[in-house]
């Protein structure tokens, strides 16, 4: 389905979606993030990129699995806790972030479906916003099979045409978003389509960063486990969790019991994001740690994204959003690291 929507009509469209929980980028201080919107006028799609990707809605940083408490009969009561069923829609999803969800889909699907992830995933519709200009100077989606107007993972894609949006729906979920506000949408003219094509060609040219010889990287990495490159590239790493917590594709998590009372026992089992850059991530109970140094942890991040994931799922586990580059406190740049992998000899 292809339509155009006058920009002035956009808030009215959002208004029609009253049966949905609506998320959109919201700016607080200098930071943009997806928040629940109560006033449709609040939705502002003129944003660079959010600090956290929409991953935080589908795979929230904190998820309660179950509640446990002491009871008289068996001595223990355990209650499964599941996310609430509520249809929701996220506006302003960047194509790279939507593609990232198609990757986490693979991880949370498969032999053991992750019920928490899918409960949220199945009831959320993703309305993308094509990147007419790169939202970050470190965007490199073209290098990792993406594009600034990729529709992968999206239900709807909106492209800016100046005074209006070109709106495409790719799924039933997407059409269901447009149907309640049908009268607001008009069929696109030939001129609109031409302009769209032109914008798209230009958008690609505006992306200045790229990874050299990306195709060669997975096989190259295979032989680089013991390379000294990891020591060199990780020298300045601080062991913080920014690169992976901000990554739209990183999915690692921890499971812990949090208790509110030890006697009588009551508490919750909770999943939280975890981070391969933290030293305790892999530390055994005995104190033995297979990834002792930060070099081994940087290696894990790179290898996971550009070798292990590629072998397992046939995709890079990276969609080129550039967050890890822009936000690294010491300027570790995944593109530079990968370029060094490409040119590494020895």
């Amino acid at each position: 389905m292809e339509k155009v929507l006058d920009k002035k009509s956009f808030p009215q469209w959002v208004k029609k979606l009253s049966s949905y929980t609506v998320y959109a980028p919201v700016q607080e201080d200098e930071v943009w993030n997806y928040e629940v919107i109560t006033n449709p006028e609040q939705v502002n799609l003129d944003f660079p990129n959010t600090v956290l990707s929409p991953k935080k809605i589908i795979f929230p940083q904190r998820e309660v699995y179950l509640e446990f408490s002491a009871s008289n009969e068996d001595g223990l009561e355990v209650k499964e806790v599941l996310p609430e069923e509520e249809p929701s829609v996220i506006f302003g999803v960047r194509p790279c972030d939507a593609r990232a969800l198609t990757l986490t889909d693979k991880v949370f699907g498969g032999d053991f479906e992750d019920i928490y992830y899918w409960k949220r995933r199945n009831q959320v519709a993703l309305v993308g916003l094509a990147c007419h200009t790169p939202p970050s100077p470190n965007c490199f989606c073209l290098s990792v099979d993406g594009s600034p107007f990729s529709k992968e993972g999206l239900d709807v894609l909106m492209s800016d045409l100046g005074s209006k949006y070109f709106v495409e729906a790719f799924s039933k979920k997407g059409e269901q978003l447009i149907n309640p506000a049908k009268t607001l949408f008009k069929p696109p003219t030939e001129k609109d389509k031409k302009e769209l094509d032109k914008n798209r060609t230009e958008a690609k040219k505006r992306i200045s960063r790229q990874i050299q010889n990306i195709k060669k990287i997975p096989p190259k990495l295979k032989g680089m486990f013991d390379s000294s490159l990891w020591d060199e590239e990780s020298m300045s790493c601080l062991r913080c969790g920014i690169c992976t917590y901000l990554c739209p594709t990183c999915h690692c998590f921890d499971i812990n019991d949090e208790i509110f009372s030890s006697s009588p026992l009551s508490g919750k089992r909770i999943r939280t994001w975890d981070n391969c850059q933290f030293p305790d991530f892999t530390m055994h109970s005995s104190g033995h740690n297979p990834r002792q140094g930060k070099a081994s942890r940087l290696r894990q991040r790179i290898m996971h994204k550009f070798q292990y994931f590629v072998e397992r799922y046939k995709n890079y586990q990276c969609t080129g959003c550039g967050r890890c580059i822009s936000r690294c406190p010491v300027g570790i740049d995944i593109i530079e690291v990968l370029d060094k992998v490409s040119s590494y000899e020895g």
Binding site: P137, S236, L238, Y245, D254, G331, D333, E336
Partner: protein, 343 residues
């Protein structure tokens, strides 16, 4: 601004003489304005060094890594590490010396004065440039920065893009050094606690609301802890595991380790984390502002440290990071110390 060539010359000399095993300095990055921490091992590599108003990092943090690395080496190179420090960074070094975390002999200090300027706040600059990508930044010696972008040069008053900490700087020039580059001139600062005024003037309830909102944003990436040169403990209450665990640690010891805070990034746990962090910096924080700079959610962490710094000054007339021989605030007692908090 200190001339980069002077810095390179010093660095080259000490490397050629074999005085240091390597130099930790600022290196040009392949991508844009901000440098990266550089580890210069040979006189030839000295060419990589840069010195610009974007040299924000407090490189003393890397002494913590160096110490750990050295302790694991069987035959460590006993020569000192060369370290490029600004005024604020040198004060961090003083605290590390005062706490005997490092020995004076282990570091060769290349002090670089910020003279009458300071370093930029990248976020302020990005906002100021409205999407234009900065490629180069220079100080014009008349209190302006000249920023080169793809679309030409822009002149910006220093006060508009200087880091907050620089606007409240107490030491533009290194307080400890083996060589000093630049003059001891400094920017004039009226009130070093100026930025606190706004939040201090809020009624308690409003302040509580402010911090509740701010700290609820925290995703506990621990970048503020990781970047802090004072956060060098082997064990931290914020970690799920005690890193001092060895093969000899008993199961009881491990099992009995108290979980001071849970991993859930909820208000209560975030408060514990941030208050523990702040309190541990009382009388130690030298306001390099790195914690706030690195926060991906823009939480104004520096206020917490700054408030403690102010308390230390007002209550105990104590300023951290000026004298390595001075006893630390929390380990010293004076008869005239206020006692009215004891009830």
């Amino acid at each position: 601004m200190v001339n980069l060539e002077d810095l390179k010359k010093e660095a080259k000399t000490v490397l050629e003489e074999g005085k240091v095993k390597y130099i930790i300095g600022y290196e040009k990055s392949a991508n844009g304005l901000m440098p990266v921490p550089g580890f210069i091992k040979s006189p030839e590599e000295v060419e990589k060094l840069i010195w610009t108003p974007a040299c924000v990092y407090n490189l003393t943090k890397f002494l913590v890594d160096e110490k750990r690395r050295k302790s694991r080496e069987k035959k460590p190179d006993e020569r000192p590490v060369g370290l490029v420090v600004k005024g604020c960074d040198s004060r961090a070094l003083v605290v590390l010396l005062q706490e005997k975390f490092i020995n004076r002999d282990d570091v060769f200090i290349i002090g670089v004065s910020c003279e009458e300027t300071g370093v930029i706040d990248e976020k302020k600059l990005i906002k100021k440039l409205k999407g234009k990508k900065a490629e180069k930044i220079e100080f014009d010696e008349k209190d302006n920065f000249i920023v080169t972008t793809q679309e030409g040069k822009v002149k910006i008053a220093a006060s508009e893009v200087l880091a907050e900490r620089c606007l409240e700087c107490k030491a533009n020039s290194p307080v400890i050094y083996d060589v000093l580059l630049g003059e001891k001139a400094k920017r004039s600062v009226d009130n070093p606690f100026q930025s606190l005024e706004k939040i201090e003037s809020l009624p308690e309830r409003e302040r509580w609301k402010f911090w509740k909102e701010q700290l609820s944003k925290c995703i506990r990436c621990y970048a503020c802890r990781s970047v802090c040169p004072m956060c060098y403990c082997d064990e931290c209450v914020a970690d799920t595991i005690n890193f001092a665990v060895t093969a000899d640690t008993t199961a009881e010891e491990k099992a009995q380790k108290i979980k001071w805070l849970e991993k859930s990034p909820v208000k209560s746990e975030n408060f514990v984390y941030h208050l523990v962090r702040a309190i541990h910096l009382a009388g130690r924080c030298i306001d390099c502002g790195e914690c706030e700079r690195v926060c991906p959610l823009d939480i104004p962490i520096r206020f917490l440290n700054k408030k403690l710094e102010k308390d230390a000054k007002e209550l105990f007339d104590y300023e951290a990071g000026f004298d390595p021989e001075q006893p630390s605030l929390v380990s010293s007692f004076k008869d005239e110390d206020p006692e009215d908090f004891i009830r």
